[in-house]
Symmetry: C2
Subunit: 307 residues, 2 copies
């Protein structure tokens, strides 16, 4: 007979592309997962997954069945959420944020959230988008905020915010703090960039290449704190999302100028496992995070108009 465990196992294998990874995610053994899938296939009388030496590939049946299974799991989660956690703010909220968000908008969001939901057990993980995406897919995080991208199996994506990229340098190195700048006027650049696995790296390279911005030297730093510290004390510059620089708008430490002609925008999306539904507390935190970020941007725009 069919069971939810079998279905959850299948969904996990489908999304992870491997029995072993699915076992890890489900807190089970590879052997157990293997048997679940076998029983499922037997009882359906059809192959769902083709095993090749390096993992699994879904069959046509598998694709269709997966779509239904995810929808079913989600619906079940929703039905149960409506009953169990009926609008009560409680339990735990586990979220993942990139340094972009932890630097400036996390703290004020947490302040507001904790005031409203004092009993919630809050856990924030700081990491880069690849790690966060994995954690969300594996169900270890309720949601994460990552750069906009072209989806992933098993994840639902919602645009959280669109923010402008800034050229950041140490104080008095750029001048005209908070006024728009055309990057081409500044080249050749000595620029600090994240590693090639980082989504923003590609955006930056593409922007420079297509607008003829010459780069004199690149320094690859995958440490956000390190980048800021280094930029603050050197002649190097960095291109960073505006949202992380709210606390430096006073110009005492950095010169910050929005890229212009053309402006460069970055999307940040909220990702969550499709098979689950956000708890009320998690949903509240997400909406507070959006609000705080939007306020941040509004404040910056006001300052920019002054400047």
């Amino acid at each position: 007979m069919r069971s939810l465990k079998q279905i959850r196992s299948f969904v996990a294998v489908f999304e992870e592309g491997s029995f072993t990874a699915a076992a890890l995610r489900e807190g089970a053994t590879q052997s157990g997962i293997s048997q679940h899938i076998r029983h499922l296939e037997e009882s359906l009388g059809a192959e769902l997954l083709v095993r090749d030496g390096r993992g699994v590939i879904p069959t046509v049946h598998g694709e269709r069945y997966y779509a239904e299974c995810v929808a079913i799991l989600r619906r079940l989660d929703l039905a149960e959420a409506e009953i169990s956690r009926s609008s009560a703010l409680g339990g735990e909220v586990r979220i993942g944020l990139m340094p972009t968000f932890t630097r400036a908008v996390l703290a004020p969001t947490l302040d507001r959230f904790i005031a409203v939901a004092p009993t919630v057990d809050m856990r924030v993980t700081e990491a880069y988008s690849g790690v966060l995406t994995d954690l969300v897919r594996r169900g270890e995080l309720d949601f994460a905020v990552v750069p906009g991208f072209q989806g992933a199996v098993g994840l639902s994506t919602t645009l959280l915010i669109r923010d402008r990229e800034m050229l950041v340098a140490s104080k008095n190195r750029l001048g005209q703090h908070l006024t728009p700048i055309c990057l081409k006027d500044m080249d050749p650049l000595k620029i600090v960039v994240p590693g090639p696995q980082n989504t923003r790296r590609k955006n930056i390279e593409t922007y420079c290449a297509s607008h003829g911005v010459a780069i004199e030297r690149r320094l690859q730093l995958d440490a956000m704190m390190g980048t800021l510290d280094f930029v603050a004390s050197s002649e190097w510059v960095a291109i960073l999302p505006g949202v992380m620089m709210v606390n430096d708008l006073d110009g005492t430490r950095f010169d910050i100028r929005p890229l212009d002609q053309p402006a460069l925008y970055s999307d940040f999306v909220l990702i969550e496992p499709t098979r689950r539904v956000l708890s009320p507390a998690a949903a509240l935190f997400a909406s507070m995070l959006r609000e705080t970020t939007e306020q941040t941007i509004t404040i910056r725009q006001a300052r920019m108009r002054e400047a």
Copy 2:
């Protein structure tokens, strides 16, 4: 942890209104059902059913959860149907029909069906609507055709056919075979009727009462074959759905005249368990049954125009 068995048990209890009945339907023991419901309620942290001495009554949570559960089971059934019995006509089809349908339209439908689906294991149950409804709800029949009525928990209803009621008497007793008749012109009636539990009984009584048709004597027969036989050999009459009289349109055995001023119509609906999806074979049989019945009515209308 939650399981499909628990959910199926809950759906069964909800629909049957009793643990004991649910156990019977699920082929389990009352004890097992009881424990499933308890675990479900524990894991949801909410009561779903209130136990009173004569069965159970759902709570508000129970109502909502039930609706979701049925939808989920149905969706799962659909997903699996798409894979397993992917459009192949096979397996078994178990249907329930009242004598109204078995008398004349079953045979030609079966002829056509068997020709198209020779490998299907076909099982027909003849019974009255109450029994058929129970059998469908308990999942022992794929579908049944019963008089139109106001739904039942867990059953989906589709109108199959609307048919005209006929006054039936032995040959030459009414005269003007196949021409419309106003029942009031014939009263007082000596009429054979089904028992009060029969849906059509109520329709007949209501019709007579509201159109001032006097009934001299009633004879209650819950045997359709017996009714016909008795009517054929006596001065008693009966009011019967036209669909069961197709083979007697030639007038050699009965005088048959449609009720008129006003005409009396009866609805027949197809009922199936909401939680399941009709197999392709069952769906095919249902559509053939409808076609045959419609042809039957068309033939009768042609004959009536001739008369």
